[in-house]
């Protein structure tokens, strides 16, 4: 589903973001990417999203080779990916419902599908009663649920979460992780870059550990690697 092969990223200022990283993620997997700040997690996520281009190597997402992808094809690559950020990135002037419907409008979905799908994902993330609320009327957890709902409303095969619990208290963080697991159970491939040691240890999923831009550990049913 996601094939990252011998990928390196050297920034224009000469600093190395990622060095010779190879990761293969199968359809339906749940993978944690962990590592300290500056280990290259965000660089990796940005390259998967094609916000950054690798200096070397190639990345294939759901059969699409992103290496030489034309600019006007990038939106169609991103439609394969649901993306969740640490800072939620909701539109403050739109309600919860509108924020989610927005993701469907953008891909020119039919209004009928919007009216059907948005309430469905809202109840999946447990926000059916908050449809008309604005983001600033929601708690952090609720905002992240909204962001999650937006990420999955178009039913993408892959969900990428970059520090999804970074701004949340431990209980709420756990709820969000459970929600991610639930989404994974429904068949979506989930990749989570995180710092949340306790959660990684508890969930016993595949854990890829990055250090200084290299993969130093890649284990099934792993925990947080103590050496980093």
């Amino acid at each position: 589903m996601i094939d990252i092969e011998n990928v390196s990223k050297i920034y224009p200022n000469g600093s190395e973001g990622i060095k010779d990283v190879t990761i293969h993620i199968e359809e339906g997997e749940f993978v944690f990417v962990i590592g300290s700040s500056g280990s290259g997690k965000s660089t990796l996520i940005k390259m998967i999203m094609k916000e950054l281009n690798p200096t070397e190597g190639k990345i294939v997402i759901n059969g699409i080779d992103t290496t030489n992808l034309e600019r006007n094809k990038i939106p169609y690559l991103r439609r394969q990916l649901g993306i969740v950020f640490q800072d939620f990135r909701l539109l403050p002037k739109k309600t919860v419902y509108e924020n989610i419907a927005f993701a469907m409008r953008v891909i020119e979905a039919h209004s009928r599908h919007i009216r059907r799908n948005v309430p469905t994902v809202l109840s999946l993330v447990g926000l059916q009663n908050k449809a008309d609320a604005y983001p600033n009327q929601l708690s952090g957890g609720e905002q992240q649920r909204t962001a999650l709902a937006r990420a999955i409303v178009n039913n993408p095969p892959i969900l990428i979460a970059d520090e999804p619990t970074g701004n949340l208290d431990p209980d709420t963080a756990w709820d969000i992780m459970c929600l991610l697991e639930e989404i994974n159970r429904r068949g979506t491939t989930v990749v989570v870059a995180t710092h949340a040691r306790d959660i990684v240890d508890l969930m016993r999923k595949r854990v890829v550990t990055l250090n200084k831009g290299r993969v130093i550990r890649d284990v099934e049913n792993g925990g947080y690697f103590d050496e980093i």
């Binding site: 916000e51 006007n72 939106p75 991103r78 993701a103 891909i107 020119e108 209004s111 178009n154």
Partner: protein
């Protein structure tokens, strides 16, 4: 492009106007101020040009004929002169007419009382007007070649001054319009840039959820067009009655101006200015929004 998307663009364009009301007002005010200045300058320039042409038309050429020409040859000369390019009218003045005119002008019947139709010292003449005084010299040299023409009189000094004035007005007018237009473009694109900048998060999110560049641009273009249209219409609607009022005030308080030349009517100016300015407003809006979004699309 799907119909539902078109509906969405228009809807978003309008909501964009209202949700960012402060920036909208700023943008519209900027466009309106620029268009107002351009409209006022246009009114001034158009009137100066039109007055110049009116004055030019009054500067005729008098062509005096040799004495004792038969009516046939006079008609022939008249026909020949009408055929010269840029001659717009040829009026025959018989010696009798000329005498009558002179008597009226001098208001001194006594001095001229000895003269009547039988001993009239004046000769037949033609009053010629031309459509553009730049060609006066060419026309005169053509007339000189016609048989039966004794003398030609024209106001050379006035013509030269008018020609120079005309040139100065054209150059100054053209330059000032150019500078005004350039300043307007810079100010308007900057205002729209700020308006787009305040919404860069929105553009960013659209990119992440897989929106194409055009899908992001269209609502901004709709918004730009709306700002352009409103920004153009407001000053035009204000300046039309203002212009008419100014003209009638000038005619009342400075009546001598009306004797020299007439102002263009509000309708004449604004029937051209309104569509032009709306077009300019739309163009400015579109160019402003497209160039300002461009930077934010590279994510």
């Amino acid at each position: 492009m799907k119909f539902s998307s078109v509906k969405y663009y228009i809807h978003e364009g309008f909501t964009g106007l209202f949700k960012n009301s402060l920036m909208t007002v700023a943008s519209i005010a900027t466009v309106a101020a620029c268009i107002f200045i351009v409209a006022v300058s246009c009114c001034l320039l158009a009137n100066m040009r039109s007055m110049m042409t009116q004055i030019e038309k009054n500067i005729g050429i008098s062509v005096f004929l040799e004495d004792k020409l038969s009516p046939e040859s006079i008609t022939m000369i008249s026909e020949q002169m009408k055929r010269i390019p840029h001659v717009s009218s040829v009026t025959y003045i018989s010696p009798d007419d000329a005498l009558e005119e002179l008597k009226k002008e001098w208001n001194a019947d006594e001095v001229l009382s000895g003269f009547d139709n039988n001993n009239n010292p004046l000769s037949s003449s033609f009053e010629i007007s031309i459509d553009n005084i730049e060609y006066q010299k060419d026309v005169i040299s053509e007339i000189k070649q016609i048989d039966g023409v004794r003398n030609i009189r024209n106001a050379q000094n006035e013509t030269d001054i008018l020609l120079k004035l005309n040139k100065v007005i054209s150059i100054v007018g053209f330059l000032s319009m150019l500078i005004l237009a350039a300043i307007s473009v810079v100010i308007i694109t900057n205002t729209i840039k700020i308006s787009v900048y305040t919404r860069k998060t929105e553009i960013n999110i659209m990119k992440y959820v897989g929106a194409t560049d055009w899908f992001i641009r269209w609502p901004f273009i709709v918004e730009g067009v709306l700002i352009g249209i409103i920004g153009a219409l407001v000053p035009l609607i204000i300046s039309w009655p203002l212009y008419d009022k100014c003209i009638s005030l000038i005619y009342v308080h400075l009546p001598f101006i009306g004797n020299i030349a007439h102002f263009l009517s509000g309708y004449t100016i604004f029937s051209v200015l309104i569509p032009l300015c709306i077009l300019a407003g739309i163009l400015l809006g579109v160019i402003g929004s497209v160039t300002s979004i461009h930077k934010h699309l590279n994510v």
